[in-house]
């Protein structure tokens, strides 16, 4: 592209530039000024020229990269970059884990360093109650069609209810036991179907089979019948996919970078050889749904489990970076941007294992290894429980025993309450009472409520708190970890500060403008600014850093619903 003769426009521009540069150099020579200012002029000129050359190089390089990224793979004959990488000059490989594979380095983001990571121990606490909740899924009708009644006994994998509009969405029982209560909320919408766990397991048999030898319809049928279908999240919009939808790709991120997130490598390690085989079998099944289009996102910053690195029938992509680098939305943005007509499904690694196990054994095995985290718990650990378990009592015991060792005075302690969050602190769901986990969550965070006034807290913060802003003194120390609470640290305001969201988003997006266009219901801008590429969890970090305390995720969901309603 550089060999072509430049256009007249470019030539004129070049001539003008030459003239200006010549003048710049010539002026001080003819000026009858003292020598000191000449030195200043010359040195700053030299600086400006070096800067200009540098800028031109960088901009040229960037434009090559950009034009290259718009070409299809086999047409990419341009060199990837003018400027040789460290690998090319010195032979140093920054990412030995990824080997020769390309690593997407995501340099923006923010790691919220919280206290209370789960210890690497696996416990098997006894769970009494389990709930299956229609409200955990986007787009469900508020009153599903019930297939069981209170008092019925159910087997593992038995259908409990299905959506009224789309009767292919079956929700099945993760445990064997008795339906204790069908709880209703506002307008008689069903919020919980609570099952009392019995000691004896009995399974519904779905029949084992090798997915490789099955056709698409067979795999779909099995997933829908067993209730594992609802674990698929379809992007855009984050909904449960329709039965007839043919996904363009299925994407699995094998690591979670959210604060205190569970370590999937460890979870895989506990499941042993069997887990590894099941993961592979799950991938095989997904490969039937989306042939050649199963993608794995791997962490180049930490050695992933062999099940991930040696997985077959999946394209691997390597990523390096801090949160939100582990989010499938962020990774997809770099390897397969989602347009308005795309359908990309995402899954978590433990969902894949469940699918593999279903095909291997013919039974639903809806147990998850859940990371129990939070700075105000004693005995933080991984627990293996059925999905949707009630963990309220468990958390209360551990919170009380932590408080017994806490050295604050009794009056202060009596005022402390805690919050259970199913999921991470950024995009999790607050759970109360019995504390039923969300069906898809492998993470619980417990943190103190921050419902206390703080004298001059806005000017002189009295205890450490996480922040991206250097005016909060603790943010300057990278070794600090924080006991965070749920205080908002300020009141809600209109958008004032700009550039803040972008500084933590490793995506080529303008979240603040996206949110503004959602508030204005400007359909074209919402579409253009990339709403199809994001879900709530991807913008969660923006909500955390927001100086104006805006409800970013809520607004984004409004926008997603608005676009969905227009299609």
């Amino acid at each position: 592209m550089f060999l072509n003769r430049p256009s007249p426009m470019k030539r004129t521009l070049r001539n003008i530039l030459t003239l200006v540069l010549f003048n710049l150099v010539a002026t001080p020579m003819f000026a009858a000024d003292d020598s000191v200012s000449n030195v200043i002029v010359f040195s700053s000129l030299a600086f400006v020229i070096v800067l200009l050359i540098f800028l031109a190089l960088i901009m040229g390089d960037q434009s090559i990269r950009m034009s290259r990224s718009t070409l299809a793979k086999d047409e990419q004959d341009l060199p990837p970059s003018f400027i040789p990488s460290k690998k090319e000059i010195f032979g140093i490989n920054d990412d030995p884990i990824a080997g020769d594979a390309k690593v997407h380095v995501l340099d923006r983001g923010h790691e919220i360093k919280l206290d209370g990571r789960a210890d690497v121990t696996l416990q098997h606490p006894e769970i009494k109650l389990v709930s299956v909740r229609p409200t955990d899924y986007v787009g469900m009708q508020p009153i599903p069609k019930m297939l069981v009644a209170e008092g019925d006994s159910v087997k593992i994998g038995q259908k409990l209810f299905h959506d009224r509009k789309r009767d292919s969405f079956f929700f099945t029982s993760p445990v064997a036991g008795k339906v204790k209560e069908i709880r209703r909320g506002a307008k008689r919408a069903i919020t919980d179907v609570i099952i009392e766990v019995s000691k004896r397991n009995s399974y519904v048999d779905f029949g084992s089979g090798d997915p490789k030898s099955m056709d698409r319809e067979g795999v779909v049928e099995k997933l829908i019948e067993s209730g594992l279908w609802v674990n698929f999240i379809e992007r855009p919009f984050g909904i449960v996919p329709n039965r007839s939808t043919q996904p363009d790709a299925i994407y699995i991120s094998t690591f979670d970078t959210a604060p205190l997130a569970p370590d999937y490598n460890q979870i895989l390690a506990w499941q042993g050889k069997e887990g590894r085989a099941h993961f592979q079998k799950g991938l095989d099944a997904l490969n039937v749904l989306a042939p050649e289009q199963v993608h794995l996102g791997l962490n180049a910053g930490e050695q992933p489990h062999a099940a991930f690195t040696e997985a077959k029938n999946a394209t691997k992509h390597w990523f390096k970076g801090i949160h939100p680098a582990g989010n499938p939305g962020v990774q997809l943005h770099h390897v397969r941007p989602i347009g308005p007509n795309d359908k990309v499904w995402t899954l978590r690694p433990d969902d894949v294992i469940m699918i593999g196990r279903l095909f291997e054994t013919g039974k639903l095995h809806a147990k998850r290894i859940v990371a129990l985290t939070g700075d105000c718990l004693s005995d933080k650990a991984y627990i293996e429980v059925p999905s949707g378990s009630s963990i309220g009592d468990l958390v209360k015991d551990r919170f009380d025993s932590y408080m017994a060792t806490d050295d604050r005075d009794a009056e202060e302690k009596s005022e402390i309450s805690y919050r259970m969050v199913s999921g991470n602190v950024l995009s999790g769901l607050q759970i109360e009472g019995e504390g039923f986990l969300r069906n898809a969550d492998a993470h619980v965070t417990v943190l103190e409520e921050g419902d206390k006034h703080e004298m001059f807290g806005w000017l002189l913060p009295s205890y450490p708190r996480p922040s991206i802003n250097p005016t909060i003194p603790w943010s300057l120390f990278s070794f600090m970890t924080f006991k965070a609470n749920t205080n908002t640290h300020g009141e809600r305001r209109a958008f004032v500060v700009s550039g803040q969201y972008e500084s933590v988003m490793p995506m080529d997006l303008y979240p603040q403008h996206l949110l503004k266009s959602i508030l204005a219901e400007d359909f074209e801008s919402i579409e253009g600014l990339g709403i199809y590429e994001v879900l709530e969890e991807d913008l969660a970090l923006c909500e955390f850093v927001c100086t104006s305390k805006q409800p970013v995720q809520e607004t984004l969901r409004q926008g997603l619903n608005f676009i969905m309603s227009q299609r």
């Binding site: 718009t70 070409l71 006034h453 802003n469 205080n487 908002t488 500060v497 927001c546």
Partner: protein, 451 residues
């Protein structure tokens, strides 16, 4: 601690029956205590930064420039009468004079501005927004020290109502509020904010009389060994200061360096000097009024805040490092101004080969005259009125630098341009953002289509 908290909780007025009282209480309550609000679903923890803290840090970053400005008001005042010619002579009197001159200004701006803010907050049922904290400190800083208080009151009211509340309050405004106040004075009362006389404070206000500062000056002038001067001769019958008053020292002019440069080029700035006769030895001493050091330390007439360049640069650094002010805007504004100033220098060599002219003032001195640095640090970086995109900020800053320098040098009436340049680019900021966003949209569309 608990006592105050309990007291505040006890006296909380009812929001419905007395909204005004409740707004006032809420403002005081949230000033004293960070509220006990907790997150709902969405994120469960929040960053420790909020808007109050953001705004107070801008005000804190301004304080060095404010103190330097206050001392300089006193310095200019006393030097004009031949008192305390050295920079550190009588610095206490200078500081006291300057502070008392500033205080009524600050109080008036706060009372008028916060009053309106409070009225609208109560009317709309939201809490008092802290955006005006910064504006209320900026408005006095960009006024001439002698500006009449009623004028500032009207200008502040105009700015807050028309530039801010009409658009919906903090975060919604298009124009910089402080600059709107100044531009109001500039167009409504041009004689108060341009020319030679307005940039030095000669008068005494009630506070000066009450606290004996006026008496101090009168005594000092009357008891000079060389016979003394009659203080009364400074003012005409209406009590207005006379610019040609005989008590002013030899060669004294209140013209700013920019004013001099506009008329006589760079040499006029360098030649400006005044003579002070030492009261004890009776020896005359000639001072260069605008030496490079004086320009740097802000020992010159002008608006209050813009004086001390080192203090302003320190403020700019605080803002840039803390991420509260955008370094992109600051950097590109300097680049824009430098580029145009160099272009002007080159043009000047061709247009006026053998005479001194404003256009030929060396570009590096252009940066240290007038309010360039102050505008860069505190005005252009206002996040609400600036471009909202990182790339847009570069264009926005460059635009201010370039337009401002053009207005300063080529405008025949008023040798300064940052106020108008920033307001001009404020209006264009959404357009810049529009183009940046469109390019982003196109870029990502192309990526999606390739798949």
């Amino acid at each position: 601690m608990k006592l105050i908290r309990n007291f505040l909780d006890r006296i909380e007025p009812d929001k419905k029956s007395s909204p005004f009282l409740h707004t006032l209480w809420d403002g005081f309550d949230t000033f004293l205590y960070a509220p006990a609000l907790v997150t709902k679903n969405g994120v469960h923890i929040r960053d420790g930064m909020d808007l109050k803290r953001t705004m107070i840090h801008v005000v804190l970053a301004m304080q060095l420039a404010f103190i330097a400005g206050v001392v300089n008001i006193g310095h200019q005042h006393y030097t004009a009468f031949g008192m305390y010619g050295g920079a550190f002579q009588g610095i206490g009197w200078k500081f006291a004079y300057g502070l008392l001159q500033m205080l009524p200004l600050i109080i008036v701006v706060h009372v008028v501005g916060l009053g309106i803010e409070f009225f609208f907050a109560a009317k709309k049922g939201h809490s008092i927004e802290e955006g005006f904290l910064v504006s209320a400190f900026l408005i006095p800083m960009i006024m001439p020290p002698d500006v009449p208080l009623w004028m500032v009151a009207i200008a502040t009211a105009f700015a807050v109502i028309v530039a801010k509340e009409a658009f919906g309050g903090t975060g919604m405004n298009i124009l910089n509020i402080a600059l709107t106040a100044r531009v109001f004075v500039f167009f409504a009362y041009p004689s108060e904010i341009s020319g030679e006389i307005c940039w030095i404070s000669y008068d005494y206000n009630v506070l000066h009389s009450l606290l004996g500062i006026k008496a101090h000056t009168v005594d000092y002038l009357a008891n000079l060994p060389n016979g003394g001067v009659a203080f009364d001769s400074m003012f005409d019958e209406a009590g207005q200061f006379m610019a040609n008053s005989s008590v002013l020292i030899d060669g004294w002019s209140g013209a700013t360096p920019l004013g001099l440069a506009a008329n006589g080029g760079w040499s006029a700035v360098q030649e400006a000097s005044y003579t002070i006769i030492d009261p004890v030895t009776n020896k005359a001493e000639v001072f260069q009024q605008y030496s490079t050091t004086n320009l740097l330390l802000g020992v010159m007439p002008g608006s209050i805040g813009e004086m001390n360049k080192l203090a302003v640069i320190a403020g700019a650094l605080i803002l840039a490092v803390s991420g509260i002010g955008s370094w992109r805007i600051m950097l590109s504004m300097v680049l824009g101004a430098v580029a145009v100033a160099i272009l002007m220098n080159i043009l000047g060599e061709t247009l006026y080969p053998n005479q001194d002219h404003f256009i030929k003032v060396p570009w590096y001195y252009q940066l240290f005259m007038g309010s360039f640095l102050f505008a860069m640090a505190f005005m252009a970086t206002d996040p609400v009125t600036a471009s909202g995109t990182d790339l847009g900020k570069l264009f926005y800053g460059f635009g201010i630098g370039a337009v401002g320098m053009v207005v300063r040098v080529l405008n025949p009436a008023y040798p300064e341009g940052w106020m108008l340049a920033i307001l001009f680019m404020n209006v264009f900021a959404p357009l810049i953002d529009y183009f940046v966003l469109q390019s982003n949209i196109k870029r990502r569309e192309a990526r999606v289509q390739v798949q």
